[in-house]
Symmetry: D2
Subunit: 408 residues, 4 copies
């Protein structure tokens, strides 16, 4: 894990985004290691022009560029398992960034295998979460590979140094990333914002900073109804149309953006324990979270539902902490997926001015039964049984009182 021992790599695969950090990393790696370098550009639906990034990599000296469309794999094998868990980190964050890194890193290892590289590198800083998510994945899947983390090796002491190096080496900053060069991460699921202008958590984000999701003030006057279809815990279509995993996310993203859905301004605990202030925009995730819970609410056994709630925060912390490929995540996923077999059905949401309301849900496996729920006379439940249940369930209180318990 990392190149402390000055192993000389023969061939490095660098995860390249086209932004400042990975551009500098590319030039620095070529200069420092003077070996073959493949720039790997992962398409996770970040919506940038990947051929521009590819040309940039070539221009900066990459010996080879690989662009890989990972969108369907991302949606199906990463986002959806996480959504099956209703995962929220620290009660609120949908983890659109956290879930992207393990896939990029895993795909990077596949490229390394294909091209016969002996090293992988990434452009994440040495204080943040992404380095951990990259390197936990490398270690879990291929612990023998050499990992190079330029930010933890190079001599630049600050962003200013980095910009100077970029200048000296003809690394162009494009306009959008030039202004806030390190604060944005985007993919199919979300856009995140972090950094200078947000550093005082007492202050709101400056107007105009966020761009994915409409401000509430700019959302349509009329509400929109959207119906999402699920099979075994996974969304499989929208408004009556069967869709690929990517298709589901793209469709919901467009709806959510329009109506201002899924903004979150939060101070969270980073993996290393520092607190950081982030703003997230996750329109499709917010819609899916509500819709999945709605269908699930009809189907799950009550005790399964409760157990799932209790396991979720642990699961979420594992995903956040880059432990997607750790066996304890897989162990929890086995339990969660067991619960999802019957989670098939439809949820109807009403989106309006930034808000999501579930207004209907149905399932062929629904355990909702009006015969149980009604307050009219019924055949399935004799209210006198409640007396027995209550007398039995309070035996412990009576025993406690007899014993003069002080624990209340």
């Amino acid at each position: 894990m990392s190149n402390r021992n000055n192993v000389a790599p023969r061939h490095i695969v660098l995860a390249f985004s086209g932004g400042l950090d990975t551009s500098v990393a590319l030039v620095w790696l070529k200069e420092r290691y003077r070996c073959r370098l493949t720039a790997f550009i992962a398409d996770l639906g970040q919506g940038e022009e990947l051929d521009v990034a590819a040309r940039k990599a070539e221009k900066l000296g990459a010996d080879e560029v690989r662009v890989v469309d990972l969108r369907e794999e991302f949606a199906r094998d990463y986002a959806f398992p996480m959504y099956r868990a209703d995962a929220l980190y620290e009660g609120q964050y949908l983890m659109g960034s956290s879930i992207g890194r393990p896939l990029i890193a895993a795909a990077q290892l596949r490229i390394a295998e294909e091209v016969g590289a002996d090293a992988v590198a990434h452009g994440a800083t040495g204080k943040g979460n992404d380095q951990i998510r990259f390197e936990m994945t490398f270690a879990a899947l291929r612990p023998d590979i050499t990992v190079i983390s330029p930010w933890r090796e190079w001599e630049f002491a600050s962003r200013t140094d980095l910009l100077a190096f970029a200048g000296r080496n003809g690394i162009e900053l494009d306009l959008s990333s030039g202004e806030r060069p390190y604060s944005i991460d985007s993919n199919l699921l979300h856009t995140s914002y972090e950094g200078e202008v947000l550093e005082d958590p007492a202050l709101p984000a400056p107007a105009g900073l966020l761009f994915r999701v409409n401000d509430v003030a700019d959302t349509p006057a009329e509400p929109e109804t959207v119906e999402i279809h699920f099979q075994s815990g996974n969304p499989v279509g929208v408004n009556g149309t069967p869709l690929s995993a990517t298709g589901v996310l793209e469709t919901l993203d467009a709806i959510g953006r329009r109506h201002g859905i899924g903004r979150l301004d939060i101070v969270e605990n980073r993996i290393f324990g520092m607190k950081t202030r982030n703003i997230y925009e996750a329109p499709s995730g917010a819609l899916l979270w509500h819709a999945h819970r709605a269908v699930q609410s009809l189907v799950l056994d009550p005790e399964v539902a409760q157990l799932k709630e209790e396991l979720m925060p642990r699961y979420a912390a594992l995903v956040y902490r880059g432990l997607w490929f750790a066996p304890e995540r897989l162990m929890l996923q086995a339990a969660i997926d067991f619960s999802q077999q019957d989670v098939t059905g439809d949820a109807v949401l009403r989106v309006h001015h930034g808000g999501v309301q579930v207004v209907g849900r149905r399932s062929p496996h629904s355990r909702y039964d009006v015969a149980f729920a009604t307050f009219e006379a019924d055949d399935v439940f004799d209210q006198r049984d409640s007396s027995g249940w209550l007398r039995v369930s309070t035996v412990r209180f009576r025993a406690g009182r007899r014993a003069g318990a002080v624990d209340r």
Copy 2:
């Protein structure tokens, strides 16, 4: 627990609301037991005219009526401890009903003590949650008292029978409760809706059913900013004004109603395991949940924060299940309250068209430290340490690979 053995009570304290169920219960109890009856009317901020209810109780034959203002106790000793836990049942429900019953039942026992009564009674049905919340409290606090649950004893097989009895006995149905006589519960925190017109979970609530919170379409065009102040986990003021516990809730309730905050349409698992569809309107709870999390996010140690997330679903289930006075709830509360000592500070929320956004938060005990969070050079964190951390943290993956682990 319940009167199976035909013990003849001398004096019953009935929790009386003035609605159909408790009105019928009052008449029925007098007819059946022919003993002294005190009607106990708890003021939890339900916003109804309590003197009307008191006169009704007298007219229906109560020997004595006691109206007790429990609002401050409710806010301070019931709602706030629950909010300190960020409790949500099944990931979504703020439990405005669940938290009211234990206080009503506890206060009812105090009245029984004062008036020398040997029995308590409530008007909750034999299938629902409220009977359990009442009777768990009775059992935990005074297991020897006689508990009478008319719904589980009387001969009425349906609501139709009940209405017939009401008619025969001159029990008036007032307009609002006459139309949907059993579906509403209201207090300082929320209004809940359950019953016939909502029984098909696939269908939205009929227009006009809900009344506490403005429809999004009717909310003000302009957003409003609200600042909430906390001390040791409890809200103590709004917008710079120190307030009583009740005052905090009332102030936030008014703001939330205006802006359409806190509606939830959900299918939940009742204590007995049946599924039920409920709609809740909890404006102050929704605001406090976000605000408390915002201040807390600055203050809590990261591992304390994670442990608190993991304990919360268990805590929430205990509250939902009527186990407020059970020692395991108190045991968890001891842990939660330990974490809240430093949760002092302010949260700034922007409310608009049904949505809540945290836009700022500060605390004198904030652990947020820009020196840690910055991506510029700093003195407190050497990025090369990350390499050591990563090499150590991935030892287990390397060991696993050597052992040919199949568990990934």
Copy 3:
């Protein structure tokens, strides 16, 4: 669930043991319901003469007797999954009784299916755990069948009444069960003792009461070494000999009995919350618990091991509470079994005078690596990395101190 509505069964399958309770139940059922009755005798390795019980059932009036050897199924599909979880109820009890009932009940339903019966009955009392374990299984697997629980229906108010009825109906008490007629449960795994002579938890069991396992004073002077072989978490042989599941348990039972292994004198919380004092003798279970942990200790990823410890008490409570067929048990089992794929290898135990010591363990999937563990210089771990790990891991404490945290 139970026959409150006076449904007239056509054909009852009774779980019959030959003891007093089920004998009385058989006669009472025939007398009360005057329908066809099949006595079902489950062989769980209780070591009693089943043909004696079968003849007794016939003599008492059973229309048909079915004896079914369930030992291999019991060991393989019930005991072993539970042992894979290292389950202990309340930290100590191996649950030899708890795990037997779900199988008996499930097999009883199979018999009911075969013979076309519409009702099942058991002889467990109305205060204990076994009724719940029977009836939870019936409800989970076939909720529509009529369940008859004679103890909760009949008119006998006490054991004395029961004995009188037995006397009147010529039901013989055999000597062993006559003296302590209801206190013993035995199967392949264990013998349990409960009841009158043990009712004062301050007093030791009378000498001579327990019979399965040798008193320490009577155990061999020399220790014995036993090696147990595991595949994917399950024991598959002893001392070099591959064995059936039953064979493993029988072999270990004999060794354990000889050396006085597996006695436990405990006050436990029954499902209904009363406390009860029980003595258990579980020789094979005690040996397997230690052996399984020993092999597992070599193989599991450390975080998987920790997660498994945290899930275990929940799992154990589910098994104890009769929820073997509940989906939340299966959900946890999915997680546990995920962890067991590589738990293959051998454990060497030394048993002596009532004690078990693990003295060796090995596994082809061992992650134990002397290169990591040694205090000599090594290539796999650079001690200076610990400094980085420590600096990173204590960031939160430094942040806490800066914030003047009072939470320590």
Copy 4:
């Protein structure tokens, strides 16, 4: 945390044991830093001659030696809170070593305060657990102090190098520690063994290696009965005699040693995730674990008992991982201690040939009530209530079946 920046300390407090590692550390620190050094010798009841160690420290060049008797504090404020939790790491280990380090480190900080030192040092290696337990405590209590960890700084590549340095510097190895110089840790609670001769986990410990506890073969022929008295979860006396915390541990230690109690041979996961094989001898801990559970079993509410079981593995991992002073440990302790208020009473144990059997327990707050437990007729429990309880508790299974659930 650690001295990477080559800060020149003015005054170091070294935790000194008199063994090889801390002796070499003392000499090396004086040589390297040429500053004032206080040798701190903590008396945790390790039973070594502390004045010999003190003279050795002086002879090796310590400017000052402080010997502090920490036994009562160790027993009362460290061991007992941990025993109140029934803590076992990975299901088996009583953590006699883990619990000692935080106290040594905390006392070392007190000495540093007293003598005005600006640095602390310890002799723990860079791969093991103890460095972490020391340094987590330093960081939690005084994050600003300079920490020096010679093992992670010095040039010695192996134990052989260390021995050579010791030879060159006239550091004597005493006989006992010379043969297995780094493998032993002893205190009031236990002795642990780790290292070369135990490195193959498939092989038993060589005969004669262990010395604290009698081999079973050498234990008395007759059993001994011991009664332990508890108040609010803490042991306060033995066999009718009130004792100090130290007195309790010493008394039980002597009994346990004689009867061969408390040996454990285990492969455990170190904090860094490597597996290590250890043998522990913890006679008093084993006796207290059983005795505490016995008294507790009479007193705890059943749901409190279950919650405590579920929290324990998390608590144990925190203690093992050196997080004694971390707020999450204190948070869990708050919950655990809440449960212990009534855990007052006596447990009677029979110890014989290496085994512990609880044979009796009593408490003034016992909830054990023969009226509930009996199978005779009683007034407190109507068996027919069980039918109601069962019908209610199985509603969910019936609902599941109707819905055609596949999750079983």
